[in-house]
Amino acid sequence: MAEVLIADDSEFMRNLLREILEENHTIVGEVENGVEAVEVFKEQQPDLVMMDIVMPIRDGIEATDEIKNTDPSANVIMCTSVGQEEKMKEAVKAGADGYITKPFQKPSVMEAIQDVVPS
């Protein structure tokens, strides 16, 4: 079971992701912004981070950049409502391994995770 950190400022969305993931994965933390995402990543070293982009204090792309600088083998899937091409390019540049656009269904989440962290 892969260990997953969920970073999203929406409690609603964190709940939804937890429900989708907890059957096959271990949720090691849920955080609300990019600063907390980096901190918890460093503490827990999860196998995967599900990272929102638009978050207060520090956004998901900056947080991904720092996580990847800390640990280039870290796996990060952007999980966001933003479907802008330029933003996706920024995510790639920051080192994101996958990109899911909200709203999503369980199969698309599982497929993206399987691509990044094969079981």
Binding site: S10, Q84, P103
Partner: protein, 402 residues
Amino acid sequence: MKVDVKSLDTFNQLAHEGAQEATRSMAQMTGIDAAVDVTRISLIDRADVGEELGSGEFVGVQFGFEGALSGETVLIFEDDQTTEIVEALMPGASDDENMAQSAIQEIGNIMMSGFIDGWAEHLEARIDHTPPGYIEGTSEAILPDDPDVGDHDEVFVFRSEIQWEGESVTFFIYMLPEYEPMAQLMSEYAETGEDAIPIEKLAVFNKMTRQGTEKAAENVQQMSGIETEAEVSQISFVPIEDVPKQFDEKLYVGTVVEFTGVPSGFLLVLFDEASAVTVAEALMPVEMESEGLTEQHKMAIEELGNIMTSGFVDGWANVLQQTVEHTPPTVVHDMGQSIIDPLAAQLGQFQRHAFVIDSQMKTDEVAFQSEIHALPNEQELREALETLDVDRADQTEADHIF
């Protein structure tokens, strides 16, 4: 053909003065004070004209006009206000159907003659109009058939609201000119300075807005299972102080975000309270026990608003090949005017007029209606339109990068 803020302002002012002239005529006839509440010019998809009239029954008068401008115009009001209006004009006449109809025709004739004469005077040209025709109908069906728009998908609509002071009587004036003469006239009034916008780019932007609304509706459907359709998309031009008047006093629940980039501005996703509860409950995995709007409902609305906002602005960003960032959503629960007022005030520090982008979506399946309103920085919207490549207008989806 190009328009600029000056020409749009001139024509908005012209329609406003025409409506004021119509109001004065009515006050002379009835002794009732009234005021012109709102006037706006919109560029709107032909099929969407009059959607804001809802499902009510209306009566009024219709005129054709031709000369310096050609087209159709109507003055209408809700059918259940007929008695009040007829009694103000001619006490006792409301019991006689023919007399009531004649009274309406006459007040319409006098008001609309004032309206059209105001235009002719300003344009220093002749505009003839047909005799008034009495009309009645349900919602937008009461409005004239499409004017001649040639190859264009959009129509220009001038819309004014006249409110009787202290009464719940509202008159609506719709003027639908033929596209080409109107565009030509507006471009003649435009200065060829750097703020001029090609009219076709405004039309393209309107199409992008329509696609953004469709995407937002698709997002609602995917998340909630409620089959949702995009209903209206329009771009309107109004003085900044009139922006709050575009909103009614109904209570809304929704989200506000500030977006940055070119253009920057504000974007609101709003639901009436009943729709907010309906859609929030459809998003929840478990059935809610409480009645009415709770914090849990608001939390769901916050995320839905966030996703709808992205669906709406991503298309702009992809067509413009730019990034449009937005802040996390702030949940609002207030009257429409109270929500928009501080946002308009903030933009009002930098601009006298605003382009307001309005969209609406609804479903017949359950009682559900949602509105999206964008209030971009006027100067930046013009810059964005300047760089808009019309040939990329349908490229609202991001290329596959992952």
